[in-house]
Symmetry: C2
Subunit: 223 residues, 2 copies
DNA sequence: CCCAAAGTCTGTACGCTGTACAGAGATCGA
DNA sequence: TCGATCTCTGTACAGCGTACAGACTTTGGG
């Protein structure tokens, strides 16, 4: 065993404190100083556990991904596409619960252990859906890009400080923004303003997901 | 006309200075203080032109989007799918030129004038491809999610301080990272490590794009 | 058993950040 | 010419990430 006093903390405790701050006071509140005071320690003591702040954030991201249960993936009996829907919806609600966190998701590579487990299950599911090994891998990335991209763009419009208003309210808010678009210069944008206002809706999220899945599996989607 | 001395700067000059810093010294160098000193003014003078730093960043993002020429969209004679490819590739190289900027892209809603123009042209193209007005709008968002998501995930692995190494080098670097993955616990991940290493490649980018386009247009993609 | 090595934590400090506030000077319309 | 109004500067504050030195605790080896 190695010398030195016992550690008074753990990486997990630190990530937990960071996550608590994230939920309560938004992403900007996740400072080394406030995390440290949350766990009752001097700020620089955190550097015993993580080399720098970026590492803490990576761990937070991995934990967030881990919050999505992996059971859904392997729930046989349910058709695979429905299982993808469930995972997609689960991931979305889980991440939008922490609006500030989503910025992190696309700002740091996802190479944590939980992200790895998530990817492995996704590969299982896609091969089950009939894809070759290589296609499943490529498809899995395409899927993740779509999911995280959607969630990130949605989170970008949220105030990270507080919980998100209901979807209908947010769509209505967006709709108002489009009233300012000059119809002469941007006719198509103006004409489809209602559709564009609903870009952040669950409906659009699933619509796009289904189109992506159609493309990935080579199935003819719409009639 | 309104009283007060003439402005010594313009919003454009400020955005330009920010962009210069972004390119030369990375995203973290875009501080209000360094932007101000770049244009030769006290830091707080910037608040005459923008309400806060976030507004500056939004303007920077819009300018970056505007760098992508819109001519490609309307270049008839070239089949529409090829035009999408060109725009996609153009956007990617342009944004990856400023690795630090891509974080901003998904961190702020894209509602600037240039983003609007981009969207309008994309709608043109998609209706030309045979989509209904509503489907074109939904498809355009799905497409943007895919493009920006891909670029963001790719940029996440880059050092924002300096220009990106060549693609082959980056793929090789990723490939090494997968050697650490235990094959027993993650068999599929380990088996397709080469494919996954190439997630950030132009090839994968276009592969996914084509699958997404297949799904959006209801075309059977692969044989 | 004791002592050197190694590890954990604290206090302090540096240089940086965004931006609020007060005031100086310039420029306008009346 | 005289307010009113706008632009810019100086100063200041609270907060940030983290480097450094040192106090203290625990360990294995002689």
């Amino acid at each position: 065993m190695k010398p030195g006093p016992k550690r008074s903390l753990s990486e997990d405790a630190i990530v937990g404190a960071a996550l608590k701050l994230l939920g309560e006071r938004g992403g900007d509140a996740m400072s080394m100083r406030s995390i440290a005071s949350e766990v009752g320690v001097a700020p620089n003591a955190l550097y015993t556990y993580f080399p720098d702040k970026a590492a803490v954030l990576r761990a937070v991201v991995d934990r967030l991904i881990g919050e999505q249960s992996l059971d859904v993936f392997t729930d046989r009996g349910v058709p695979w596409r429905r299982r993808v829907h469930e995972v997609a919806l689960g991931l979305r609600t889980r991440l939008l619960d922490h609006p500030g966190a989503t910025r992190l998701l696309l700002g740091a590579p996802m190479d944590g252990p939980r992200a790895l487990a998530f990817g492995e299950r996704l590969l299982d599911l896609l091969t089950e859906a009939g894809l070759s090994e290589e296609d499943a891998a490529r498809a899995s990335y395409t899927l993740i890009v779509y999911l995280l991209g959607s969630i990130a763009l949605e989170a970008a419009e949220l105030d990270p400080t507080q919980p998100a208003p209901p979807e209908a309210e947010r769509v209505a808010e967006r709709r108002k923004g489009f009233d300012a678009v000059p119809a002469e210069a941007f006719p198509r944008t103006a004409a489809t303003a209602s559709v564009m206002a609903a870009y952040i809706s669950t409906d659009q999220y699933l619509w796009g997901l289904d189109r992506v899945l159609d493309g990935l599996t080579g199935r003819r989607g719409r009639s």
